[in-house]
């Protein structure tokens, strides 16, 4: 880095390398989105040109909105993601508080038990999860997905949150106890607000994998009324393979909400990853 400090050539090379990679990273998204606004002829004739007055067309979006129930899919994805995040944060914070705050027999073991799931993917148990959901009549309900994602997210959430909760000052909690607050009030009123940044980190970490997951919606909730946006676009695109306008528009519609969320939360996400929470 000190060489770059002295040498402007080096810093130009750094910018060139980064720009080149950014172009590679963004190029596919760019091509998909611009072509979704063009008519069929222009998609094939000039795939890299921006849509102009002559080639502009929304025919793809019209097909998508007519044929696929994208608002329902979006709503399903939204419900599943928000509900799973709520349970991960609530249950995770409660368990993390118990592990960080109280000394009881088996504390270490309980922490290790909960941490097992960080390394072992929940997908290994899919066969038995499906059988269990069939037995409890939860197949093709959003609850099946919410439960699975909650279980999947809890280990890392407990691990990260208990690290943060150990840093909350004991004096503060003891002051609360002397004032006669119950343990529940101390958790809700004193500790939770202080670990809000950690809660946000856990939420952002879990949000993207849940929203983007294809495996569990495909296996546990493939019915039309419970399709998530990811599964819905997969099925839609599979059916409309030859309708390029529709495929490109469906892809753009799947990209836009995630990009929107990313623009809002990218600082939080990057700060969360770089804060060393996963070391």
């Amino acid at each position: 880095m000190s060489a770059a400090r002295r040498n402007p050539l080096n810093s130009a090379a750094a910018h060139a390398a980064l720009l080149a990679y950014v172009a590679i990273a963004l190029f596919p998204v760019f091509v998909i989105v611009i072509n979704s606004f063009k008519d069929r002829r222009s998609i094939f004739r000039e795939p890299l040109a921006l849509p102009d007055a002559e080639s502009f067309s929304l025919i793809g979006y019209q097909t998508v909105l007519k044929q696929g129930d994208f608002f329902l899919y979006f709503q399903n994805s939204f419900i599943v993601t928000v509900a799973s995040l709520f349970f991960i944060l609530l249950f995770g914070a409660m368990a993390a508080f118990a592990l960080a705050e109280y000394r009881f027999r088996g504390n270490m073991l309980m922490g290790l038990y909960l941490a097992l799931g960080i390394m072992i993917p929940i997908r290994i148990g899919t066969v038995a999860i499906l059988e269990m959901m069939v037995a409890t009549n939860l197949v093709n309900t959003l609850w099946a997905l919410i439960l699975v994602y909650t279980a999947q997210g809890l280990p890392l959430a407990v691990f990260i949150l208990s690290e943060f909760m150990r840093q909350v000052s004991d004096d503060l909690k003891n002051a609360g106890r002397i004032d006669g607050l119950s343990e529940y009030t101390i958790f809700l009123r004193l500790v939770l607000p202080l670990v809000r940044p950690a809660l946000a980190t856990v939420a952002v970490f879990n949000m993207i994998p849940i929203w983007n997951d294809l495996w569990f919606p495909l296996i546990l909730a493939p019915a039309e009324e419970t399709k998530t946006l990811t599964l819905g676009s997969q099925v839609f695109i599979g059916q409309f393979v030859t309708d390029w306008n529709a495929v490109l528009s469906a892809l753009s519609m799947a990209i836009l909400p995630v990009m929107g969320l990313y623009v809002i939360f990218s600082r939080q996400l990057i700060r969360g990853i770089t804060s060393g929470a996963v070391k």
Binding site: M1, A4, P28, A95, I120, S233, I237, V247, L248, L251
Partner: protein, 305 residues
């Protein structure tokens, strides 16, 4: 702690929901899947058959050919990630960590964009771009004067898996980049300045000072890549379907398990054989994690700053 105290119910209340959900949805099904691998279905009744499913999986030539094919492909998939994704992530992080670099946060955010996209988007977008029908890839090669280099890479047995692995690298390079970036930022300036006094600057500083200090992070990235790759499914399914074509050239353990237990065109689903494959995946991931925990992590020297 020695005297008997009454049960503190609030501790139970705090722990119960997480432990119950985690145990019921994750741990019990995991062990149930391992157990189901020892059963089979005869006349719609479940019969205990011991290790017969594993004997079929490794002994029956048709099954074992598919299994070793998927396992080999999976290792190649992992190999490409280790060879391309992680060095590329380290290189990008090293460039980004220069404190004088302007617009670093913009570059960082842009390079991370593919990571937030779903496999469905990534799979189809690349399929369209590499498609010989649309002609974006051939057109771009043409402008470089390399039109004759174009091949339908995703459609050829020899190159489909490598192409998909590179697409996956494109998608996930942001993660090693971020983790290494964080590790590089946590190296104290004093150490680098001490190196400068001894005449170690630029590339030498990277190889001799920074790289040894970020080895633990590289270890974590390697094991994350390993677990992620041996559990992968979505990208292959989105781009090539459950049959992992052409001619199973892109079949990995995830797609093999899905086809086996869920069934596909010509074959009925078999949850017990699916469980046997899941057990094999579990064993592979467990071996990888143990090698990391006991063989690598304990040997890496960690420095406290």
């Amino acid at each position: 702690m020695s005297e008997r105290r009454p049960i503190r119910w609030h501790v139970v209340v705090f722990l119960a929901p997480a432990v119950l959900v985690y145990t019921a949805i994750m741990i019990v099904p995991l062990f149930n899947t391992l157990r189901l691998a020892l059963y089979t279905e005869v006349d719609q009744a479940r019969v205990f058959v011991g290790l017969a499913n594993f004997r079929t999986l490794f002994g029956d030539p048709r099954w074992s050919a598919s299994f070793w094919n998927a396992l080999g492909n999976n290792f190649w998939f992992f190999f490409i990630h280790m060879l391309v994704q992680n060095p590329l992530g380290i290189a990008l992080a090293a460039i980004l960590s220069n404190p004088r670099l302007r617009f670093a946060h913009l570059y960082r955010s842009a390079i991370f964009v593919p990571t937030i996209l779903s496999f469905v988007i990534v799979g189809f977008a690349w399929k369209l771009i590499l498609s010989p029908i649309w002609g974006i890839a051939p057109g771009m090669l043409d402008t470089l004067g390399l039109a004759s280099w174009f091949r339908p890479w995703l459609g050829m047995e020899g190159s489909a898996l490598t192409t998909l692995a590179l697409i996956s690298v494109w998608q996930f390079v942001g993660i090693p980049m971020m983790l290494i970036y964080a590790a590089l930022l946590s190296i104290p300036d004093e150490i680098l300045e001490a190196g400068e006094c001894d005449g170690i600057t630029g590339m030498a500083a990277f190889w001799k000072i920074k790289l040894p200090l970020i080895l633990p992070s590289i270890g974590i990235i390697s094991i994350l890549t390993f677990v992620g790759n041996f559990n992968a499914f979505d990208l292959i399914y989105s781009a090539q379907g459950a049959l992992a074509g052409p001619n199973f050239a892109t079949d990995i353990l995830g797609t093999f398990m899905y086809r086996t237990f869920f069934g596909f065109q010509l074959q009925l689903g078999d949850p017990h054989m699916g469980s046997a494959i899941a057990t094999a995946m579990f064993a592979i991931i467990l071996i990888g994690v143990c090698i990391y925990l006991f063989g690598i992590q304990t040997r890496l020297r960690r420095y406290q700053f």
